[in-house]
């Protein structure tokens, strides 16, 4: 002969035990709700923020490298980077386009005027920066020509006086069409306009839109523009970091350290970095509140066991074995933990969505922590209920029947 308890009856007793004290249950659940909620929020916000940053440094941005070249030490000394060494850079594996250019110094921009303007009263000399560049500049700066064409290596070797205008520069000069072979006069020297640029894609190369771009050879002849000061590179996806490392050596084998390289941060490192920053503290906070929540459950369950001593005695008199008593209290605390996990996970999801909306981010939540949260809550409840359940099972029926209640 053995006492037995149908699992459905056990479930009924457990639920009844929880349902009869709603206020206490709510308070008991609170700690776990906070703990699980903090954990889910932390993980969710970290994933969302990481994704956000990775998104900002998207595939395009992560392929853009810029090298700044210092001025030669003395006016007569050889240039830090010779124009020809750009070819060495362009040959590197992973470089998709590379261009070098030099811009007139700020404050020393030349007067520029177009020849097509018929109304002399409206004609004003514009002061515009002039850029002497190599032929791959559109590809390297992520732009195209809106009209006409860009100059090519032929123009450069022939030292042709041709010019391509940035979109803004063309507008300022009143140049709307180029099919009639317009010319611009830069400090009086005429340059034939062969093309007009479209919008410039690279955020760090926006100055080109307002510039007059000429072959670096013609620029040296007519305007004494001097050696290259900037190299722009677009790389294959994922090659930016590598190219950033190799570019100074390719450009200036004698003194690579003199060059300043601007490369995008590694998105993967960035993502984990941000996740670490946010997660570190909040994860600890979440774990602490989870432990506190567990202690809360343990404490309340222990008090409940004491209060229900007489009930335990009665159940023992009615034939409940020690394990039936233990199972009941263990399950009660596990269900409370589970409740905390479910509510905490839900609040966490809401919090992640609210934070994301507040920052204009797209909320990203991995399913794993959301699904694991209720399990974690139940485990916390189970562990918390262990000691009280053992205490309840160890009570002697006679003693228990005398107890309170």
């Amino acid at each position: 002969m053995r006492s037995r308890l149908d699992p459905r009856d056990l479930a009924g007793e457990v639920l009844a035990g929880i349902a009869v004290r709603p206020a206490r249950t709510v308070l008991t659940v609170l700690g776990t709700v906070l703990g699980i909620g903090a954990l889910v929020t932390t993980l969710g916000v970290a994933t969302t923020a990481g994704n956000q940053i990775a998104g900002r440094f998207d595939a395009a941005t992560a392929t853009e490298v810029t090298v700044d070249i210092p001025e030669p030490i003395a006016p007569g000394s050889p240039p830090v980077v010779a124009w020809e060494s750009l070819d060495d850079l362009a040959r590197l594996n992973g470089v998709e386009a590379a261009a070098a250019y030099v811009t007139t110094q700020p404050g020393k921009e030349p007067d520029v005027r177009a020849n097509t303007v018929r109304d002399p009263g409206r004609v004003l000399d514009r002061v515009l920066p002039v850029v002497g560049a190599t032929a791959d500049l559109p590809a390297a700066a992520r732009t195209t020509v809106a009209a006409g064409r860009f100059f090519d290596t032929g123009h450069i070797t022939r030292r042709d006086r041709v010019a391509v205008l940035g979109a803004q520069a063309a507008e300022q000069l009143g140049l709307t069409r180029i099919d009639n072979q317009p010319a611009v006069f830069v400090d009086g020297t005429p340059f034939t306009v062969v093309g007009v640029l479209a919008a410039v894609g690279r955020p760090d190369q926006q100055a080109l839109a307002g510039s007059v771009i000429v072959p670096w050879t013609a620029g040296a002849d007519a305007l004494h523009l001097g050696p290259a000061r900037t190299v722009v590179v677009t790389t294959a996806l994922g090659a930016a970091a590598l190219i950033a490392e190799q570019a100074p050596v390719a450009l200036s084998p004698n003194d690579p350290a003199a060059l300043t390289v601007n490369a995008p941060p590694d998105p993967a490192a960035l993502r984990t970095g941000v996740a670490d920053d946010i997660s570190g503290l909040l994860l600890i906070l979440g774990l602490v509140s989870l432990v506190v929540g567990g202690l809360g459950i343990a404490n309340v369950t222990l008090v409940t066991v004491m209060e229900r001593t007489a009930e335990i005695g009665l159940r023992r008199a009615l034939g409940a074995r020690r394990r039936h008593i233990a199972a009941q209290f263990l399950l009660e605390s596990a269900v409370i933990g589970l409740l905390g996990g479910v509510i905490g996970a839900s609040l966490g999801v809401v919090a992640v969505v609210l934070v994301s909306v507040g920052r204009g981010w797209t909320p990203v939540l991995s399913l794993a922590p959301v699904l694991a949260a209720p399990v974690a809550g139940a485990v916390v409840g189970l562990v918390a209920g262990l000691y009280p359940a053992l205490r309840s099972a160890r009570l002697q029926p006679v003693e228990a029947l005398r107890g309170p209640g």
């Binding site: 002969m1 053995r2 006492s3 037995r4 308890l5 149908d6 459905r8 009856d9 007793e13 009844a16 009869v20 004290r21 007489a310 009930e311 005695g313 009665l314 159940r315 023992r316 008199a317 009615l318 034939g319 409940a320 074995r321 020690r322 039936h324 029926p397 006679v398 029947l401 209640g405």
Partner: protein, 223 residues
């Protein structure tokens, strides 16, 4: 008539300081269908005896056969099983769960002894009908009179169809009217063949029993 209870030389001494010999050399034979009352002054060992009879406590010496089965030496699990299946308890303080309604309280009666789930509610209603409480099935125990509460407890004890009903001061918390109602119920149970052992220090209660046993300083004497 078959023996339900057969105590031989049972002793129970509490290992307090000084040790309290609550039961000493107790012999007791109770047959099926008996209605036995045990009377005695406070502290004489009545509750101790009932706890031994109900397998809630173990004697230090002697032998206790319940329905012909020697219970001394059984493990906790077996004693629990026999207790749940064969013995019904009625306590002075009722021991009802305050947050569960009357029917649910009665349904606890065979929760641990393998009573059929499907008709447990119906059987609980029938038991409540038997104690005259079919009009109170949905009440909370806290809304019942003392006598009604004790009848709920009796219905709960009856649900498991016990061989023996052990009552420790069943009317100790009741006024004379309620006491009379419970005693009526005991007479009914007795007529239906239930074996009843009622512990009391109240003579009106003990006089209703067919057989009376007196206990003083842990020793039984028939009279």
């Amino acid at each position: 008539m078959s023996a339900i209870i057969e105590l031989t030389g049972v002793g129970r001494t509490f290992a307090s300081d000084p040790p309290v010999p609550a039961l000493a050399d107790v012999d007791l034979l109770v047959h099926a269908g008996d209605y036995l009352s045990i009377v005695g002054p406070s502290g004489s060992g009545k509750s101790t005896l009932l706890n031994v009879l109900g397998l809630l406590d173990l004697p230090d010496s002697g032998s206790y056969e319940l329905e012909g089965v020697e219970t001394i030496g059984l493990g906790d699990g077996e004693r629990t099983a026999i207790r749940g299946a064969r013995i019904g308890f009625v306590f002075q303080s009722f021991h009802l769960l305050p947050h569960r309604d009357v029917t649910e309280n009665v349904m606890l009666g065979d929760l641990y002894t393998g009573g059929r789930r499907s008709d447990r509610r119906d059987r609980a209603r029938a038991a409540l009908d038997r104690v005259g409480l079919s009009h109170r099935t949905g009440f909370r125990p806290t809304h019942l009179s003392g006598g009604e509460r004790q009848r709920v407890a009796i219905a709960r004890a009856l649900l498991g169809d016990p061989a023996l009903l052990l009552c420790d001061e069943p009317t100790g918390n009741l006024d004379s009217t309620n006491t009379a109602a419970i005693l009526e119920l005991f007479d009914d149970l007795r007529r239906a063949g239930t074996t009843l052992v009622v512990i009391t220090h109240d003579d009106t209660v003990s006089r209703r029993a067919a057989r009376r046993v007196r206990i003083a300083d842990g020793r039984l004497s028939e009279r």
